[in-house]
């Protein structure tokens, strides 16, 4: 079964051998190749290269092609404020002082704004990895898009002029349907409708204003023969049931929702739930161990892998340490072996005696590669591959050894040496490369320094 088929199986509500894994690497994809957020979202080749790196390092079953809820708003005349380390923000709301519903002729066309770039990258990704990886096309949800256009007055309009809100949401729903069409035509397998603001309204308001538009959107996506997902942010717990009733194939939530409790509701409607690795406390600020532990603990709460997708809570922060996501990926793909690692790592009774080399008095340089498991973890495979190739080039001039975290004594070694992130390369006991695979030149230079 290809990773893509695994995800499809889950979206068809069947049992999967492991939990499908979908890293929401939006601007974070840029961090993998040293490009900033603005470059990732405005330069086609940069975006493509970054997404390919996500695919290579994180081994996703599915991945979004671009995570930018401002794409439609920009075309509709909102000014954007760009940032180096995050997606752009909407800086002006054209309808803030003008209570009108735009003419349908203003709806985005494929040659407007950044759509040509996005559609082209979608096609290139489909061509490059589409056989094995499910691709997500993300559209801005009608409520969030309406608030981009109208600003905060939208909330007040819900009391003052319900017809207006309905009409404006109707326009935004049309916009969403068009975007679905463009994205599906460009090869997307799953359309995710992303509406963070849904968590800010009551269930009554959701039912009054959004049940209709969402049902229409998901019907439309279904009629096109692809899967759908409904992304929310924030504490949307109370609205999960109403969201299920709009009939998406899946729902994705963040850490503000108790995903196990929410799953009881989504299961009732036979909807897949995805989430909800905490973005800030775990992915951004936690260690690799924290990330692996969080995932195996979460997965342990599931009686079986059915109607569940493992994913970050939302768009990953730009600066999430790469090793953290690698840890998450490994925990998703090799859950049992990572569970053992985590258990061994935290056990206090653990006292395997390991001998640390006398780095000051080595006969020749020693390259030590620490991996989660080079057989199963993609980043680890590449890291070991780089070291093996160096060993071939330098021959007997250097020594090279791999320590897999799957072995108890290697965990002890890591603890003793203070190795925090895997995979990494140490040369003569000093950390040289962590998570980011060095190029041949970089690695050779680091070795020559100590020859």
């Amino acid at each position: 079964m290809t990773p893509k088929e695994l995800l499809f199986t889950a979206l068809r509500h069947e049992v999967t051998p492991r939990a499908p894994w979908v890293p929401f690497a939006g601007v974070h994809a840029g961090a993998l190749i040293g490009a900033n957020a603005t470059q990732v979202l405005t330069d086609e080749d940069t975006l493509f290269k970054a997404l390919m790196e996500v695919n290579r390092l994180y081994r996703p079953d599915g991945q979004p092609v671009v995570f930018d809820l401002q794409l439609e708003a920009e075309i509709l005349g909102c000014d954007l404020a760009w940032a180096d380390d995050g997606p752009p923000s909407v800086a002006s709301h054209p309808l803030a002082d003008t209570m009108t519903v735009p003419c349908k002729c203003k709806l985005p066309k494929p040659d407007q704004g950044r759509l040509p770039l996005v559609l082209s990258v979608m096609r290139r990704m489909k061509e490059a990895v589409g056989e094995t990886t499910a691709l997500y096309g993300l559209i801005c949800g009608p409520f969030t898009l309406a608030s981009h256009l109208r600003g905060n007055d939208l909330f007040m309009d819900m009391y003052d002029d319900e017809d207006y809100v309905n009409d404006l949401l109707g326009f935004c729903t049309e916009c969403g349907k068009l975007m679905c069409d463009y994205f599906i035509e460009a090869g997307m397998d799953v359309i995710a409708v992303v509406d963070p603001l849904v968590s800010q309204i009551s269930t009554t308001h959701f039912e009054d204003f959004l049940s209709g538009p969402y049902t229409e959107l998901f019907d439309h996506i279904r009629s096109k023969g692809v899967f759908s997902s409904f992304f929310v942010c924030g504490d949307a717990t109370r609205n999960i049931e109403a969201m299920c009733q709009t009939k998406p194939d899946s729902i994705s939530v963040d850490e503000n929702v108790d995903i196990i409790a929410a799953k009881a509701i989504t299961d009732k409607y036979n909807v897949v739930i995805g989430g909800n690795i905490p973005l800030t406390s775990i992915m951004l600020h936690g260690t690799q161990q924290d990330n692996m532990k969080y995932v195996v603990d979460l997965l342990a709460q599931l009686p079986e892998y059915k109607n569940f997708i493992l994913a970050p809570g939302c768009d990953m922060p730009y600066a999430v340490p790469i090793e953290n996501t690698i840890g998450v990926a490994q925990a998703a793909l090799e859950t049992e072996s990572v569970r053992a690692m985590v258990a061994n790592y935290v056990s206090d009774t653990f006292d395997v005696d390991v001998e640390i080399p006398d780095y000051e008095h080595l006969e020749r340089p020693l390259v030590e590669v620490f991996t989660l498991d080079s057989a199963t973890c993609a980043a680890c495979t590449y890291m070991l591959g780089a070291a093996t190739a160096a060993k071939e080039r330098f021959g007997t001039e250097i020594d090279m050894v791999e320590y897999k975290f799957t072995e108890k004594e290697n965990i002890a070694r890591c603890k003793k040496m203070g190795v925090k992130n895997l995979p990494s390369i140490y040369i003569n006991g000093k950390l040289k490369f962590a998570s980011i695979i060095p190029s041949r030149e970089e690695l050779d230079a680091a070795i020559k320094e100590v020859l």
Partner: protein, 213 residues
């Protein structure tokens, strides 16, 4: 008094026009502005705040309630100056530099005003030195910073540093909040108070101001 109850009830339902009419009626009946404010408008806003905290009402409900409150206070303002009613404290508030999100910040403002605090709203994308400058010039007891982005929350540390540099750290308390902000983060950057929601922020701000009075 039932008219004050009516004001509170209608405010909670966001009936701005009715609130305005009732406030005028209460004034005409000779009820003091202070009483109308405290037992009518602020009482209603306080209920909304509590319900918001408990996830019983949400952003739209708070916004319309606050609008109703503003309609009422506009009528009372000219009467309040001579009525011995003073603000409970002064807060300078804004969304931190680099961040344009203002829903949460606006809610905090409304809730704080609902507690009788005076709030100076600097809007969004506010430079750390600006908070300090205004706090100094206006004699605020509290600087309150909001952030929705993981990338901008770090800026809040600069507010603490700037306040230290300006020598007002002992005179002003710094409050932080927003989706990615946590208690740990608040401690780490040396801020004084983190609250998880707007209503709690208003409660905490009132408490701080009273303790500093």
């Amino acid at each position: 008094m039932s008219i004050l109850n009516d004001i509170s009830e209608n405010l909670q339902r966001g009936k701005a026009k009715v609130v305005k009419e009732l406030v005028q009626q209460a004034i005409d009946e000779g009820i003091s502005a202070k009483e109308i404010l405290e037992n009518g408008l602020l009482a209603g806003m306080s209920v909304i705040g509590e319900k918001f905290k408990n996830n019983e009402v949400f952003v739209p409900e708070v916004l319309v309630a606050a609008r109703a409150m503003n309609m009422g206070t506009a009528l009372l303002k000219p009467l309040l100056t001579g009525d011995g009613v003073e603000a409970q404290g002064k807060v300078v508030l804004g969304t931190i530099k680099g961040d344009l999100h203002d829903i949460g910040k606006n809610l905090v403002k409304m809730m704080m005003e609902g507690k009788g605090l005076e709030v100076i709203d600097l809007g969004t994308d506010v430079a750390p030195e600006k908070y300090v400058e205004v706090a100094q010039a206006e004699g605020c007891q509290i600087i309150a910073c909001s952030s929705l982005l993981t990338t901008t929350m770090g800026m809040m540390e600069d507010v603490v540093k700037q306040a230290e540099a300006a020598g007002i750290r002992d005179k002003v308390k710094i409050m932080v909040g927003g989706a990615p902000v946590t208690e740990d983060f608040c401690k780490k950057i040396g801020a004084d108070k983190y609250t998880a929601d707007a209503a709690s922020a208003a409660d905490a701000a009132l408490e701080i101001c009273q303790s500093m009075a």
